[in-house]
C-alpha cells in the first residue's frame, strides 16, 4: 500500500539534449508516493527513457543539455547530488541490457552493485542467489553475460537491480525481450517486492496487458508531456485517446469496447483477464456465442518448393551449452513462419545456421539443396537478409542514409539504382526525414527500423527478423510487420522470431515452437496458439484474447479457434439476433 509521502517529486521539468532541436520533456509535474507502482506508456520517442534517466541524474549530469525545474528523489535534488549517491536510492534497468552488463560472470554482475553500496558480504551471499532465482537464472552463476541470450541478459540486468532493493526501481521496458511467462514472473516478483518492501516502482512498457494487471496508476506521455494520469481501468477504456497516441488497450478491453460499440453495454470495461471473465458472467444471459469452424488442415499445408532445410542439426557452443538438439525443419518458398519459444530456447542459434554464422556440430543445413557451409557468408547475405536482435550490432555508419546504402555497392548495384533503392527503403520504414541523422541519435526503436531498411534495400529472397518489434510502440510494430507482409505477398519467404505472439495473427501462417533446443510444435498459427498447455511448457502464453476465448469456449461448450479480439467479437450476437 502506498503511503502519502512523495518519494519522487517532479516540478516543471523541461529538458533539451545538447543538440536536439527542441525540448524532449516539457513542463512535467508528477508526485510518486512511497510504495506506488506507476506505469508510463507512450509512443516511441515520447521521452519515456529520458524521464527515467532524469530520476537518477543521468539526465542531465551525463548528457548535459538544458534542464529546467526540479526533480527530487527521496528528498535529494538530482542536480545537486552525484549520480553515485542517487543510484543508491534509484536503480534503473535500461531498455538495452547490454549497456549495463559489465562483469565477467552472472553472479559478479549481481554482486557489482551490492559491492558499490557496501552491502555486507553475508547479506550479499543471500541476496545474489535470491535475485537470480527470481529471474530463473540460477544455475548460470558462472556464465559470462555475453553467453546469455537477449532475454537472459535482460533478466540479469533486472536481477542486479532487484538485489539492490532500492527505494525506487525504474524499469524501462524490462520485459521487451522476455518470454511471456518470464514477463509475468518478473513483474509478479516486482509487484511482490513493491508490496513487501514498500519499494516504489516505475514501469515503462508497451505491453498493455501487463500494465493493466500490475500497476496502480498509468501515465500517458506523448511529445514530452503528460497527457493523462489515471488508474488503468479508466486509461485503457479510452480507446480514442490510446489510438491518438499510437497505443493499444489490453486485448480483452478491446473486445469489450467492440461489444459496447455494438450496444451490448457491459457493466464496465474490464482491463484484465480476470475481470473480463467476471464481466462475461454478468452479460452472458444477454449474448449468444456462435462457434467458429476449425480450419481445414489440408488447406493449411505449405505448398511452395523447398527452400531452406535443416536436418538433424545439433549445435554445441564452446562452453558446452547444447543449444540445438537434433533440429529438423523445412521452410518452403513463400512461407511466412514465426519461431517462438522461451528465452534461451535456441531460436537465434537456429536462424544463424541458415546464414552460416554458426556451423552445425552435427547435421546439415541446406539452401536450395546446397549445403550452406559450402557457400560464403557474403553470398548468403545477398540471398538471406538478417535483422539481428540488437540493431546496434549492425550499425556503423554516420548517417541513416549511408547505413541503408552501405551494402549495395558490394552487390554491384549502380548509382541510380542504389539511390532509388535507398529512397524506397527510407520511405517504407518512415525514415525519410531522418536520412541525415546519425543512427545513434535515434531512439532504439527507430534504430531497428534503420537496420530493417538496410536489409530491405538489398532485396533478398529470404528475410529473417529476430525480435523486430522489441522497443516499438504498437503502430511502430504493426508498421514493421506490414512491411514483412508486403514482402511476403510479393513472394518473399519471411521468418520472424518474436515473443509478441499477439501481433502475429494476420501475418504469420505457420508457428514453430521451440523449447530447450528442440522443436516442440510446428503447426498453423490458429492451431498453435490454442495449444495452451504445450505453449506453457516452454514458458509461452497464448495471447490474452485466446486465453479468454478458451474460457468462453469451455463455458459454452463451443469451438472458438479465434486469434484476435475482432474475431471473438464477430462470434458474439445478441440472444435474439440471427447468427
Amino acid at each position: 500500500m502506498a503511503s502519502y509521502d512523495p518519494v519522487v517529486r517532479i516540478e516543471n521539468l523541461s529538458y533539451q539534449y545538447p543538440r536536439s532541436p527542441g525540448f524532449v520533456l516539457r513542463d512535467i509535474n508528477l508526485s510518486i508516493r512511497k510504495g506506488e507502482f506507476l506505469g508510463i506508456i507512450g509512443p516511441t520517442g515520447a521521452g519515456k527513457t529520458t524521464l527515467c534517466q532524469a530520476l537518477n541524474g543521468i539526465v542531465p549530469q551525463f548528457y548535459g543539455g538544458r534542464f529546467f525545474g526540479h526533480v527530487t528523489v527521496g528528498g535529494l535534488d538530482t542536480l545537486e547530488f552525484p549520480i553515485s549517491i542517487l543510484a543508491q536510492r534509484v536503480a534503473v534497468v535500461f531498455q538495452d541490457p547490454e549497456t549495463q552488463l559489465i562483469a565477467n560472470s552472472v553472479e559478479d554482475e549481481v554482486a557489482f552493485g551490492l559491492e558499490n553500496v557496501r552491502v555486507p558480504r553475508d547479506e550479499m551471499r543471500e541476496r545474489i542467489p535470491w535475485a537470480l532465482e527470481i529471474m530463473r537464472l540460477d544455475g548460470m552463476e558462472k556464465k559470462h553475460p555475453s553467453e546469455l541470450s537477449g532475454g537472459e541478459k535482460q533478466k540479469l540486468a533486472i536481477a542486479a537491480a532487484l538485489a539492490l532493493q532500492p527505494e525506487v526501481l525504474v524499469l524501462d521496458e524490462p520485459t521487451s525481450q522476455l518470454d511471456p511467462v518470464g514477463s509475468q514472473e518478473v513483474l509478479a516478483a516486482v509487484r511482490e517486492l513493491n508490496a513487501q518492501l514498500g519499494m516504489t516502482v516505475i514501469l515503462v512498457s508497451h505491453a498493455s496487458e501487463e500494465m493493466a494487471e500490475f500497476v496502480d496508476c498509468v501515465a500517458i506521455l506523448a511529445n514530452g508531456e503528460f497527457v493523462d494520469i489515471d488508474v488503468p481501468d479508466r486509461i485503457f477504456a479510452r480507446a480514442d485517446l490510446l489510438r491518438q497516441y499510437a497505443l493499444r488497450p489490453p486485448q480483452v478491453t478491446s473486445f469489450y469496447i467492440q461489444l459496447r460499440d455494438r450496444s451490448f453495454a457491459p457493466p464496465s470495461i474490464p482491463v484484465t483477464l480476470e475481470k473480463a471473465t467476471q464481466t462475461y458472467e454478468a452479460i452472458r444471459t444477454q449474448i449468444k456465442v456462435n462457434p467458429l469452424a476449425a480450419p481445414d488442415r489440408a488447406a493449411e499445408e505449405p505448398s511452395g518448393s523447398l527452400l531452406l532445410s535443416m536436418q538433424g542439426v545439433e549445435h554445441v557452443y564452446p562452453d558446452g551449452t547444447k543449444a540445438l538438439r537434433g533440429v529438423s525443419l523445412d521452410v518452403r518458398e513463400g512461407e511466412y513462419l514465426v519461431i517462438v519459444g522461451q528465452n534461451g530456447a535456441g531460436k537465434t542459434t537456429l536462424v544463424k545456421h541458415f546464414l552460416h554464422l554458426l556451423e552445425p556440430t552435427v547435421g546439415q543445413v541446406l539452401l536450395n539443396g546446397q549445403d550452406v557451409c559450402d557457400l560464403e557468408v557474403s553470398e548468403l547475405a545477398q540471398r538471406i537478409g538478417f535483422v539481428a536482435q540488437n540493431p546496434d550490432n549492425q550499425i556503423f555508419n554516420t548517417t541513416v542514409e549511408a547505413e541503408v546504402a552501405f551494402a549495395l555497392p558490394n552487390l554491384g548495384i549502380g548509382r541510380a539504382e542504389l539511390a532509388a533503392r535507398v529512397e524506397e527503403s527510407l520511405y517504407t520504414m518512415g525514415l525519410a526525414d531522418y536520412r541525415k541523422w546519425h543512427p545513434l541519435a535515434l531512439p532504439k526503436g527507430d534504430r531497428a527500423r534503420v537496420v530493417i531498411a538496410a536489409v530491405l534495400a538489398m532485396r533478398p529472397d529470404v528475410l529473417i527478423f529476430d525480435e523486430p518489434t522489441t522497443g516499438q510502440d504498437y503502430y511502430g510494430a504493426k508498421r514493421i510487420l506490414d512491411v514483412s507482409r508486403q514482402l511476403h505477398q510479393a513472394g518473399k519467404t519471411v521468418i520472424v522470431i518474436t515473443h509478441h505472439l499477439y501481433l502475429m495473427p494476420g501475418y504469420a501462417e505457420r508457428v514453430v515452437v521451440m523449447g530447450k533446443g528442440v522443436i516442440v510444435l510446428d503447426a498453423p498459427i490458429r492451431r498453435a496458439f490454442h495449444e495452451t498447455a504445450l505453449l506453457r511448457s516452454t514458458y509461452l502464453a497464448p495471447p490474452q484474447i485466446v486465453q479468454f476465448a478458451q474460457g468462453i469456449a469451455s463455458r459454452e461448450n463451443v469451438t472458438l479457434p479465434i486469434l484476435t479480439p475482432e474475431e471473438l467479437a464477430a462470434c458474439i450476437t445478441g440472444r435474439r439476433d440471427k447468427a
Binding site: 516540478e11 527542441g22 524532449v24
Partner: protein, 261 residues
Amino acid sequence: MAAGGAPKGEERRVELVGGIAIDGTPIAYIIVWAAVLAVLSFIPIPVSVVFGIGGTFPLSQAVYALVGFILGPWAGALAAGIGRLIGIFIAPHTATVGLPSVVFAMVWAAAGGILVEKKGHKWLLALGVFGLAYLGYVGRALTIDVDLALALQTTLTNLSGLILWVLPTRTLARDLIANRNPARLAAGLALGSWIVNTNGHTFANAWLYYTVGWPANVWRILIPVIPVEQLFRTFVGAVIGVGVIAGLRAIGLVKPAKAGY
C-alpha cells in the same frame, strides 16, 4: 518532440556533480579509452618494419593522437598510459619496446590534447620537447656513421611534424577537428594526426635510437618506410576518429572540458 513556448520551470546549471574527473574529463571516459587502447594492442601495425629491434608495434599507436583530441592533454595522456601499460602485458607480441612505450603513448596523447587547446602556451613546451628530441635523434646519428644529408632525408617526415607544429597548420587542424562538417572533420583529424604522430615518433625514436643506434644502411632503408608507416597511422586515426566523433556528437554525452571536437 515537445511543443514550443518557454518552459515554466527555472533553468538550472548543468554539471557533473561529485563524479571523479581529471582535468574536466570524467574518469569513466578515461577508463573506456584505456580499455580501447589495450584491446588495440593485440593488433600489430601491418606496414610496420622494425629494423634493428625486431618485433612490431601495436595499432593503438594510430589512435593516441585521437585520444588526446577527445579527452584533452592530461586525461588523454593518462588513458593512453594506462591502456598501453595493460597492452604490454596482455599483448606481449606487440610490446617490442616494453615499458618505455607507456611514456611514448602518454607524450603522444598529450600532444594531441595540446594541439586542440584553444588557450595557453603548452604548445611551446611541446615544441621544445619535440625540437630537442629531434636534435638528439639526428645528433646521435651524426656521431655514428650517418651523414647529415642522409639523416635529413630519413627524418624528413619527423621534420615535417615539427614545421607543421610551428606553422598555423596546428591551429588549422584544431579548427577543422571542431568543425561539424564530416569532410572537414576528417581533414582536421588527418592533419592533426599527422602532426602529432610524426612528433610522437620523433620523441620515441630519440630514445630508441639512443639505445640501439642502427647504422647508415638501415637509415637508407628507413627513408621510404617512415612516411608509409606514418601515413598508415594517420589514415587509421582519421577513419576511426570520424566515426567515433560523429557518434559522440550524435549520442550527446557530456563533452570533456578539454575536448577538441
